[in-house]
Amino acid sequence: MVVPKHYSRRYLREEVLPTAFCPGCFNGVVINALMKAFSELGIEDLRNYVFVSGIGCSSWIPSPYIRADSIHTLHGRAVAVATGVKLARPDLNVIVIGGDGDLASIGGNHLIHAARRNMDLLVIMVNNLVYGMTRGQTSPTTPKGKSTVTHPYGVFEEPLNIAELLVSTNANYVARWCISNFTQLKDSIKEALTKYSRGFRFIEVIAPCITYVVRYEGKTPAQKVKELREVCIPISRYRELPDIERSKYVGVGVLKREDRPGYVDAYMEYVRRAKESVIK
């Protein structure tokens, strides 16, 4: 009997498997959602895709595991490098994958400005709620009250709601999902690669660090998934909750969905104007 290969394997560098992620790491769910999206879209191979990532556990998803051109950049600079790639080669699809520390903290400025420019990038932020690779320090998305290695008496700083922040910019597409919303996440990726393939597209995936969040809470991965299924509620329901209730829940869904021309189109128009104008 010929066992058919799993749909993900044509998109992975099999020679580097298994991954270096901790057993049970939710990065696997993100990889799976991506691969399933590619597979369902009928994408033969990823030669027209460039993956750009920074530093952190989720930045390892494309480099080295995805079989495509990938650029593993400095900590925080993935969006800036991806901007350079996209503008130099607008024919390629550029996808950034990174964590909350990489994209929302050290790289926060680039993220906001790429969104402001409606830069033609798909950015997938795997929000594990801590700095996982460097052993569990507080990140800008760590929930208040959680104890971490840098706030052993409980985090007292307010976290940043990065998806809501980006909704307020010129970005075309903003969504947030939990790893317990596998199908929605996969469909969201598909949508951001097809129907909404222009401009800045941002998908946040809540994927609590298996080692420094889930294990520290004394939970198993399965218990965490079960918990996420309860606390990740549709954004419409979340918005109806009284303020005091909101901190217990995560509002998921597509927060913004538009198909306005992205930066590349706007720049091409600018080039046309520049060629016509005469500067003394």
């Binding site: 560098r13 191979d45 950049t73 400095l74 490098v81 350079g84 996209k86 130099a88 080669r89 390629l92």
Partner: protein, 378 residues
């Protein structure tokens, strides 16, 4: 080379013209005095030539956009000054590690800190060479006139592509804002080697003096590009001694073994000088004038004007004299950086090496000051 036209332009404008002549088609920058005019020129010229100009949100973005564009095949450049140059260092080091060809123009101003933003200086020499963490080598060129700003910027692109290395053009406020007639010459353009031949890998080379080819993105090579230690195919290896040592040695040798390719110094005067003046950049113009004054006073004085500041082997400087000068003087718009190399070169010959430095307030080093220093030290 054929002169396309002559124009009365500043050094900053000449930098931009040199870049365009060499095929620059991508510029990302962030405003900073005294380099902004490079960006203004590119903002005007690139879009109408179909190139890409983007004003970045900060210098970190600017250098990293340039890295991304370079890896995607563009001839990419940024221009900045002191504080911005400091911010770019990590990105430049990354470019060294992934072998991304690009050009960074640093129009030096007086520092540290914000210093004197509108005043010239030469305090970034060591930063241009060594500003990044880790063992890394790149190329630093130094023009001393707007004409040379044009020529050396074009040359910088060619060296960058040939060696797959970042090249720093170290200008200063005098040159950047100085206006002279510049011959816009036709430039021989070097293109990147992008075809992987049998036995070649994109991140290794059997001949350490030769840069490996870099295939374009999207060509089905599934390039693995990483700033972590990697083997020839880009696979990360953050544990073994052999992989790391081989990589950083090769990245050094690629630059160091190609010293002969770099722009040569200008040497004026006898090869048996009593006094040798060693300088670069805008100061070299006063240095040149000072040697004329000294000769008119009966002192046999020669000029060694460096155009390549890195890679620079002190022994290469000594080759220009056939006997040890009695006195070697290094005038610099800094408290003394180039003088360290000059001491290494000429002290072993028995020459007396002195430094004459001042910086700040927009004051140049006048030829008469160099003459006075020489006279009181002979």
């Amino acid at each position: 080379m054929k002169v396309v036209r002559r124009e009365l332009i500043t050094g900053n404008e000449a930098v931009a013209e040199g870049a365009l002549a060499a095929g620059c088609n991508f510029f990302a920058g962030y405003p900073i005095t005294p380099s902004s005019e490079v960006m203004h020129y590119m903002a005007r010229e690139l879009p109408r030539r179909g190139g890409v100009f983007i004003q970045a949100e900060d210098e970190l973005a600017a250098i990293n956009m340039v890295v991304g564009a370079s890896l995607a095949g563009a001839k990419a450049m940024t221009a900045t000054s002191g504080p911005g140059f400091s911010l770019m260092q990590e990105g430049i080091g990354y470019a060294v590690m992934v072998e991304a060809p690009l050009v960074i123009v640093d129009v030096m101003r007086a520092g540290p800190g914000t210093g004197q933003a509108t005043k010239p200086a030469q305090g970034d020499l060591m930063q241009a060479r060594w500003g990044r963490h880790g063992d890394q080598y790149l190329v630093v060129l130094a023009p001393s006139t707007p004409q040379e700003a044009y020529d050396l910027t074009a040359e910088a692109f060619n060296i960058a592509e040939l060696l797959r290395v970042p090249v720093v053009v170290l200008s200063d406020e005098f040159i950047g804002h100085g206006r002279e007639v510049v011959e816009l010459r036709e430039v021989k353009v070097v293109s990147r080697r992008s075809e992987l031949r049998e036995g070649e890998a994109p991140f290794d080379s059997k001949d350490p003096s030769r840069a490996p080819p870099l295939p374009p993105l999207g060509s089905g090579h599934y390039l693995l590009i990483t700033g972590s230690t990697h083997d020839g195919w880009g696979y990360r290896d953050v544990h073994s001694f052999e992989t790391h040592y081989r990589l950083v040695r090769r990245l050094k040798e690629k630059v160091w073994l190609n010293r002969g390719l770099m722009p040569k110094p200008e040497y004026v005067g006898s090869d048996k000088p009593e006094v040798l003046v060693v300088a670069y950049g805008s100061v070299a113009r006063s240095a040149k004038a000072s040697t004329k004054l000294l000769r008119s006073e009966g002192v046999e004085a020669s000029l060694l004007r460096l155009r390549t500041l890195w890679p620079l082997d002190p022994q290469d400087m000594v080759k220009y004299v056939s006997k040890a000068p009695k006195l070697v003087i290094v005038p610099e718009l800094s408290l003394g950086q180039l003088v360290i190399d000059v001491e290494r070169a000429f002290k072993p010959l028995g020459s007396k090496v002195i430094h004459y430095g001042k910086v700040g307030g927009g004051l140049p080093i006048y030829p008469s000051e160099i003459v006075n220093q020489v006279m009181s030290n002979l």
